[in-house]
Subunit: 391 residues, 2 copies
């Protein structure tokens, strides 16, 4: 995996998860020089202390890094939680000789429990000491942020020989007992103005991380940060467009990796909605279908009960006439302009059970608006995994 | 059960469900004199042919009855579906000597399959012949409209010795493979103007049938009809208020019976949201919590992971500050004004597993708006039941 110059990483065991000796649970990403940085966060009104802290501090032009813990979300923790998040940043900055406000914080795990600060006081200097530019250290960082993820999610590519765009993320998708909390960290050696970084990241997240859904439960902790520590000229004009595409690709790869890493799920489901009045309208329909428990259980059971898909579109809140709607599942057209077509249920069921990635397309005749959304099926395993998480 | 004068009922086996010999699947409710009638229907843009037909015909002052089939929803069936629904009404009216437009139609079952009209042509005259004012006939009608319901749902009470308010309904709630299609039929011997009936029914449904949720999948077929065939003076003024309360009580009893009849579910969940700026705001929050898969799996697992409840409120779209929110589960206060309280997880878990009806209260400090919402837990049994329905 390609990585940009001027970054170091670490992932260590601090002991936040008392039941899991040795498990990596504290990560650090540090820029060797002050970096431009921006962030995009959860839209939940109840948001974690680290999210409040990052919002206060971003965008900025002198960021030095982020410290991330997994196992405790530091959400719904009141004033004490805010003080604890600030302390995590201060401890990290102190260990490395930076100012506290140059450091950012992210957390993921159980909500409503106070952070055991003794463990953080001991762990953070250890994480600072472990920092390295090695691939192994990056791997440790990507591992330490995982909750119920089964594998690390990383991305790195060279862009036109000019700079490198890299990142890592976590998200347990289907089984997300942390409410599928998603954390993503991008880092590049391009030089991009913080304001440009902010708007480019916001747009990229909208089309990628915001187009995957598990059960529609928006986390209190969702965070995507980007660091750009380039020393060359600031990117402007067409090179900035190229940069936007690189950010989009990084976000797209990492978000799809989250949807794919759905332990409880048997199928990845791609939902294409086309022919709407606007992209926003297509997105509302796609999200409603993606979040229907009846659609998701039908996919789990390889049951071609397509009425569930069409009717989910119907209650999305978008006003349309059913005569302008057609539905395709894989290569089977099941519904055309408001009328059901004949099909062999056994054949469609066989296709559904044998296909790991199921594609469905809802086609309207209203305009050019479109959206691609990813979700997964709803399985008995999902219910089992989520029925017993904290206790 | 109390029933008003001037109504007859039937429930017969027509053969719509080819796999289930003898099962009652066709019901009729008939008024012996022209009745005022009104209806409230699904808000799904994709709605069944019988819903289109009832919308055309209501409110009116000369309704004579409704014919209801279960096993086929007659939804997503295009022009042919509309013709079939009209034919069902016409066949019923013909059998009884009424005009076709005096008859209404409702259906529930699988979406996207054409109605086998041969079976309807034979069944409807048979249902008309079976009509009777006996309690057994009413029981048969309430049975014939069931899909995955485990028991019939009926209501009947005398109102101030002046008239009787009765009704029956179906809805399989949690296991609702028909998208929890809800059908409800109220009938009374009060005399109420059709316009008043319409607005009273709309208000009652809003607070009752629209305050239960299984998985948030709005059916294509949801229908509540009310018939008022009274021959005395038209109710106006205070007596009309009494009538409104009686309708509300009938709807409340029947809707709660639906939430309780959740085969796949182990718990009924009552969600009280209080202290909001408006009832509408409280309703949005209650519905979001009720439809969170993570809240529902936690209840199934008796897991006091209350952060899931608070964070569901947080993504409801209502803007609030977490410092104005407190949460009570049963008699345990878990979160107060934005700060978590200490509790014994084992004790709360024991309470959750031993209590059939779990109450939670989300209390805000914004005003007097409130809402009570019912849902149930999300179980592995729900997923199993819904993974394989049509095939």
């Amino acid at each position: 995996m390609k990585t940009p110059t001027g970054y170091r990483y670490s992932g260590i065991h601090s002991g936040l998860r008392t039941n899991e000796p040795g498990r990596l649970d504290l990560a650090m990403l540090v820029s060797d020089r002050p970096a431009n940085a921006a962030g995009v966060f959860t839209q939940n009104r109840v948001c974690a202390a680290p999210v409040h802290l990052c919002r206060e501090r971003l965008p900025r032009n002198d960021a030095r890094g982020v410290v991330i813990c997994s196992g405790n979300a530091n959400a719904c923790t009141g004033e004490q939680g805010m003080a604890d998040a600030r302390r995590m940043a201060a401890l990290s900055a102190e260990s490395l000789g930076f100012k506290p406000e140059q450091f950012l914080v992210a957390s993921t795990g159980v909500i409503g429990r106070m952070l055991p600060m003794g463990i953080m006081e001991a762990g953070i200097p250890k994480a600072a000491k472990a920092l390295s530019a090695d691939a192994t250290a990056l791997r440790d960082a990507a591992t330490a942020i995982m909750t119920t993820d089964t594998r690390i999610k990383t991305f790195g590519e060279d862009v036109d020989g000019l700079y490198t765009m890299s990142g890592f993320a976590k998200g347990a998708a289907m089984i997300g007992p942390n409410m599928a909390t998603m954390l993503g960290f991008l880092f590049t050696d391009a030089n991009v103005d913080p304001k440009d970084l902010q708007s480019i990241l916001r747009d990229a997240v909208q089309d990628t991380f915001n187009c995957i859904s598990v059960e529609g439960h928006t986390s209190t902790n969702d965070t995507v940060l980007i660091f750009a520590n380039g020393t060359g000229g600031v990117l402007k004009g067409p090179p900035l467009n190229r940069f936007s595409i690189a950010v989009q690709r990084a976000c797209s790869t990492l978000s799809r990796a989250i949807a794919e890493d759905a332990e409880g799920a048997n199928h990845l489901v791609k939902i294409d909605v086309v022919g709407c009045r606007s992209d926003a309208e297509a997105r509302v329909i796609a999200k409603t279908v993606a979040e229907s428990a009846l659609v998701k259980t039908a996919i789990y059971g390889a049951d071609p009960n397509w009425g569930r898909i069409v009717s989910a579109a119907g209650y999305s809140g978008v006003e349309f006439d059913e005569k302008e709607l057609s539905l395709t599942l894989g290569h089977f057209t099941l519904y055309k302009n408001g009328t059901p077509l004949e099909f062999d249920p056994k054949e469609v069921s066989k296709f559904m059970s044998e296909t790991r990635e199921i594609e469905m397309k809802l086609k309207f005749q209203r305009g050019e608006g479109r959206c691609t959304f990813y979700t997964c099926d709803l399985t008995t395993e999902y219910v089992r995994l989520n029925a017993d998480y904290t206790t």
